[in-house]
């Protein structure tokens, strides 16, 4: 099977800081991959390089066999790379309906989906449990619902790769359980790459885990392997759970 996404020697330097430093990374289609690591390990910078929000200093990104290193972010989205923001970034002054209508009409324009804007929006809102809140201004939704709206927008882009940056941050425990079910459902037709600090969520969801430290990949493996890895325990798990 060919990988959905690979990076070769991917680096991004901010002045002297090597936020991402020569990363070789491979993601297979259909998997749920979690990226973990201590604060400042370069996780968000790394996924920003994948989505095209920032440009690499060197190295290369290949998506579905095509070199997309120089491609602007909006074109990557049209190829199927969707990114949901770490800090909730819905359009606060637009209704939930209009928030989701934006990605829906994009996929219609691209010819990746067919049908009406309205039915596409309602499908994405229903999938995230927000169907009865379409007319509410996004800024007036509860924080948990705003995060779900963010996911609905990601879903509506019909992504082949959905990148979720700390999706459960700020969610209540009850909301997290629903969220795990939602991500599993999304993973039936998309590859999911998530940055997550909540270890129970990672252990339940991820097929494989990549551990970042100081801009480099420290370890990679199944949840069981990562749990047993002494280096990881020192660098990360020991530090936060010690």
């Amino acid at each position: 099977m060919t990988p959905l996404l690979t990076t070769k020697g991917l680096s991004r330097h901010f002045g002297g800081l090597r936020a991402v430093d020569g990363v070789d990374f491979t993601l297979m289609p259909g998997e749920i991959r979690a990226i973990i690591g201590p604060n400042g390990a370069g996780k968000t910078t790394f996924v920003s390089l994948l989505s095209g929000r920032i440009r690499p200093s060197s190295g290369m990104v290949v998506f579905d066999g095509a070199d997309i290193t120089a491609m602007p972010a909006y074109k990557r989205v049209r190829l199927g790379v969707a990114y949901t923001f770490q800090i909730t970034s819905v359009f606060a002054n637009l209704t939930a309906f209009d928030n989701v209508a934006l990605p829906v009409q994009r996929t219609l324009t691209d010819g990746r989906t067919k049908g009406q804007v309205r039915s596409g929006v309602m499908a994405a809102l229903e999938r995230t449990g927000l169907a009865d809140r379409g007319g509410t201004l996004a800024g007036q939704l509860s924080y948990g619902h705003q995060r779900l709206l963010e996911v609905a927008m990601g879903l509506a882009l019909k992504p082949r790769l959905l990148i979720l940056d700390e999706p459960t941050q700020g969610l209540a425990d009850s909301e997290i359980d629903n969220f795990i079910m939602l991500v599993r459902e999304i993973a039936r037709d998309a590859t999911v790459l998530l940055i997550e600090h909540n270890m129970p969520v990672v252990m339940q969801l991820a097929d494989r885990i990549t551990v970042f430290n100081s801009g480099k990949i420290l370890a990679e493996g199944t949840p069981g392997e990562i749990r047993a890895n002494a280096e990881v325990q020192d660098a990360y798990l020991g530090a936060t759970h010690g």
Binding site: P72, R78, F91, L94, L157
Partner: protein, 320 residues
């Protein structure tokens, strides 16, 4: 939700157009002429509102697009002897083309830099009009004779200097642009423009080429402002450099802010309000600008989102 009340929305807009049509029959001569002027200039404000209200781009140079239409229409009539319809099209084309060029350059900037760059280009345009005084008439301007302002269609001819023909022509242009604006802001394109205003970075990450969308809006707004300028030249028969001065870049901003940015009918209300406050107060005192200033301050204090913007916020949420 945007689609909650399309019938109500269209009924309101058609109603406003019908009201303006009826006013032609009852208004005294002076006010009929003033209303024709206000409707022609409200088109200018509507073009400006498309860019400022919906996309959130604050330009201080839209006098150049208005006067591109004004001179595009006026000079082709004056020097080339073109007919009214051809001259109008020439004016709109000049505005659209100028907007394309200026847009490509100015959209490399944003925020305050965008304001300054557009203002500078407008000043260049103004100075060019003065420099080419041999053709433009410089600061004296040009008067377009009555004989050049007659439209002949088949056997019938319409004299634009006739008050009723002038009123109806201004109303026709106003109505078309109002309905076009309404259609644009309710369209998918309109939704993207508002998204850019709210959060451009996020809009990019939903797969939109925001620069291309902004450029399209600049050209559309430029063409609408030029249509207003071309109509103004042909209806009122005067083309002058004063319309390219910085004052005419500030005025549409003022009209839109007063009426309500990002409302379809706000530009008309703002233009109407400013004209009548000026008109009424100047009847009492020579210090009328002082009273206009006080009225503006009161409005900003009590209706910070403009007249229609505040009405929408407080009472009529469905207004487009």
């Amino acid at each position: 939700m945007r689609d909650a009340s399309p019938a109500k929305t269209y009924a309101l807009h058609i109603g406003v157009i019908a009201l303006l049509f009826a006013l032609n029959l009852v208004l005294p001569d002076y006010h009929q002429s003033l209303f024709a002027r206000i409707m022609a200039l409200a088109v200018f404000a509507m073009g400006y509102n498309l860019l400022f209200g919906y996309v959130g781009l604050l330009s201080l140079g839209h006098a150049m697009f208005f006067s591109a239409g004004l001179y595009g229409a006026g000079l082709t009539v004056y020097h080339l002897g073109w007919g009214v319809p051809e001259a109008f099209v020439a004016g709109v084309a000049c505005g659209a083309l100028l907007a394309l060029v200026i847009g490509l350059l100015a959209l490399r900037t944003s925020g305050v830099a965008f304001m300054i760059v557009t203002m500078m280009f407008a000043q260049v345009f103004y100075l060019l009009i003065l420099y080419f005084a041999a053709w433009t008439g410089g600061d004296q301007g040009l008067v377009i004779q009555q004989a050049s302002r007659v439209i002949a269609i088949g056997g019938a001819s319409f004299d634009l200097t006739d008050p009723t023909v002038r009123y109806m022509s201004a109303l026709a242009l106003f109505s078309i642009i109002l309905l076009v604006t309404l259609a644009v802001v309710r369209s998918r394109f309109g939704r993207v423009l508002v998204a850019i205003r709210e959060n451009e970075e996020r809009t990019k990450m939903l797969g939109y080429n925001t620069v291309a969308n902004k450029l399209a809006a600049v050209v559309a707004a430029g063409a609408i402002c030029a249509a207003s300028g071309a109509a103004y030249a042909l209806l009122f028969g005067y083309v002058g450099s004063g319309f390219a001065s910085v004052q005419y870049s500030i005025l549409p901003l003022l009209w839109v802010l007063l009426g309500g940015a990002a409302t379809t009918l706000g530009p008309l209300i703002g233009t109407l309000f400013m004209y009548y406050v000026t008109d009424i107060t100047s009847g009492f005192t020579s210090a009328y600008l002082l009273i206009v200033g006080v009225a503006l301050i009161l409005l900003v204090l009590f209706f910070p989102k403009g007249i229609l913007g505040s009405i929408r916020e407080r009472w009529l949420r469905w207004l487009p």
